[in-house]
């Protein structure tokens, strides 16, 4: 009995015309509502990416993401990984790094909004407090991922407790994600981020005074890509 209903919902989500006996109005209402909700969530998550790609690049990306298999919950990190999958299919964006950067940017904006003064560490061992895109700097600003993804700036207190702002490389962003426990190394590995990349990122973070200690910490548990 439920299979007929599920078939109806699947057709609705695929934008198919309603069949005989199915109310056209109901399909249109829910198509509109679902699209609105998905768009709202995606804009919330990936507003900075829109700034970077512009509407011409962002709208097709939204459509592409809708057609994929987004995660089961509204957890931003899972959305970021789903977005990475889709972004990776687009020729002009380095998918994984762009998505991670966007995700961290989202977190950064949140953290800054919560308390811009405190700069409290987000994870043991990391003194990075926040990351943020800075769309005001436009395309001439130094990019963090080779001209592909969004610009990522780090706002943080360094090991001497000074507030600093630095443009980050994407290896540094990825390494921060792992150190902060926000991105699983295995998930990065599955998407082609190599252990050496994370180690490079850690070196860069130390050079920026963002991590304590003399030598680079190991990128725990990150396997080579399969």
């Amino acid at each position: 009995m439920m299979e007929e209903y599920y078939a109806y919902v699947r057709r609705l989500l695929r934008d198919e015309e309603p069949r005989a006996g199915e109310a056209r109005g109901a399909s249109e209402i829910y198509r509109t509502l679902v699209r609105r909700q998905q768009r709202q969530v995606l804009l919330l998550m990936f507003g900075p990416l829109k700034q970077r790609l512009g509407s011409a690049g962002f709208e097709p990306w939204l459509d592409a993401l809708r057609e994929q298999s987004p995660p089961r919950d509204a957890n931003p990190s899972r959305w970021a990984l789903a977005a990475a999958h889709v972004l990776g299919t687009l020729p002009h964006v380095d998918g994984c790094t762009a998505a991670i950067a966007t995700y961290l940017a989202l977190r950064a904006e949140t953290a800054i909004a919560e308390d811009p003064r405190e700069g409290d560490p987000l994870a043991p061992g990391a003194r990075l407090a926040t990351f943020s895109c800075d769309p005001r700097r436009g395309h001439d600003a130094p990019t963090a991922c080779g001209g592909g993804g969004p610009l990522v700036l780090a706002f943080y207190r360094d090991v001497d407790r000074r507030v600093r702002t630095e443009a980050l490389s994407l290896p540094a962003v990825a390494a921060w994600g792992v150190l902060a426990g926000e991105v699983a190394p295995a998930e990065l590995a599955l998407r082609g981020v190599q252990r050496a990349t994370l180690q490079r990122g850690e070196h860069q973070l130390r050079a920026l005074g963002a991590l304590p200690g003399a030598g680079p910490r190991s990128a725990r548990g990150c396997d080579e890509p399969r």
Binding site: Y5, V34, S69, A74, E182
Partner: protein
């Protein structure tokens, strides 16, 4: 920890990020906070610390949006375990979600799709609800949602459907009074009659929210973006009279979020309306930590 056990006229607000800091230092009365667990699953750092600090000040309720009890996808043990862990962490006395489909074939709709009002759908939800409750080891309350159109195959009224589903699942009702009003307005029903047809004896909690008329859809839409209307409040009073006892009530306001003060003014108003129904004076307790 149950808000209803502490104060008969209990009114809470949704925990929303812009209010985090203010709530940490708030001195006004807040009977409980309700949070959306999907926002916090797997999130650590400063956000987690704030959540724990808030938990020390306020009772917490957990209201999910993605269990999709009416859907076809299996309930994953990992998801249920994560939700249960969060409920334990926050000492939430029960878990609530919606009577709906919110994902299918792994695709998240981000909208709550109504189910067909049929016996098969009621039994399907009930079976999954019992399984979720067993796994999460705590009671479950299910919310009536807005249905902007009846789904194909519907043979029952919403009241018949919800009654059968809650009976079969032995779950409780999270009565969204504003949803009842919107459904009545959109389908040409009498709001009080529509409400009376619901299994009100099972009511564990009430939701009130703002709505607006959507000119594109030509429907009253439950958008949680404004104050609760007088029509909703009037129906709320009717609901309380029918239920016959005070019920913990949440004000849902998710978009165009007002200041915390404005939200708490509304909470005070709702608390006073609830007290007036039972002709009882409000408690003089004015601190946000009452009952903890």
């Amino acid at each position: 920890m149950d808000a209803s056990a502490r104060d008969p006229f209990s009114v809470g607000i949704g925990l929303r990020r812009p209010h985090f800091r203010e709530l940490l230092h708030n001195e006004r009365r807040v009977d409980f906070l309700e949070l959306v667990p999907e926002v916090f699953l797997g999130v650590g750092g400063e956000t987690r610390r704030v959540l724990h600090a808030l938990r020390e000040r306020y009772p917490m309720l957990v209201h999910g949006v993605s269990l999709s009890l009416g859907g076809p996808d299996p309930l994953t043990p990992r998801k249920l375990a994560d939700l249960a862990a969060l409920c334990r962490e926050l000492d939430a006395p029960y878990y609530s979600d919606h009577v709906c489909l919110s994902s299918i074939d792994g695709i998240e709709t981000f909208d709550l799709l109504p189910l067909p009002f049929t016996e098969a759908a009621a039994l399907h939800v009930a079976t999954r609800c019992r399984a979720a409750r067993e796994r999460m080891e705590r009671p479950i309350a299910l919310e009536n949602i807005t249905y902007y159109a009846k789904m194909p195959g519907s043979a029952w009224t919403e009241g018949q459907f919800l009654s059968a589903m809650l009976e079969a699942s032995d779950a409780e009702l999270l009565l969204d009074v504003s949803n009842v009003l919107a459904n009545a307005q959109n389908h040409g029903l009498d709001p009080q009659s529509a409400l009376d047809a619901l299994p009100l004896a099972r009511t564990r909690q009430i939701h009130l929210a703002g709505q607006r008329f959507d000119s594109e859809l030509q429907l009253q839409v439950d958008d949680h973006a404004s104050a609760v209307s007088e029509a909703s409040l009037a129906l709320y009073e009717h609901a309380l009279r029918r239920i016959g006892r005070p019920v913990p009530t949440l004000i849902e306001w998710d978009q165009n979020l007002p200041s915390l003060d404005a939200l708490l003014d509304l909470a005070d108003l709702v608390r006073a309306r609830q007290a007036a129904v039972f002709e009882a004076p409000l408690s003089s307790a004015a601190t946000s930590t009452a009952g903890r």
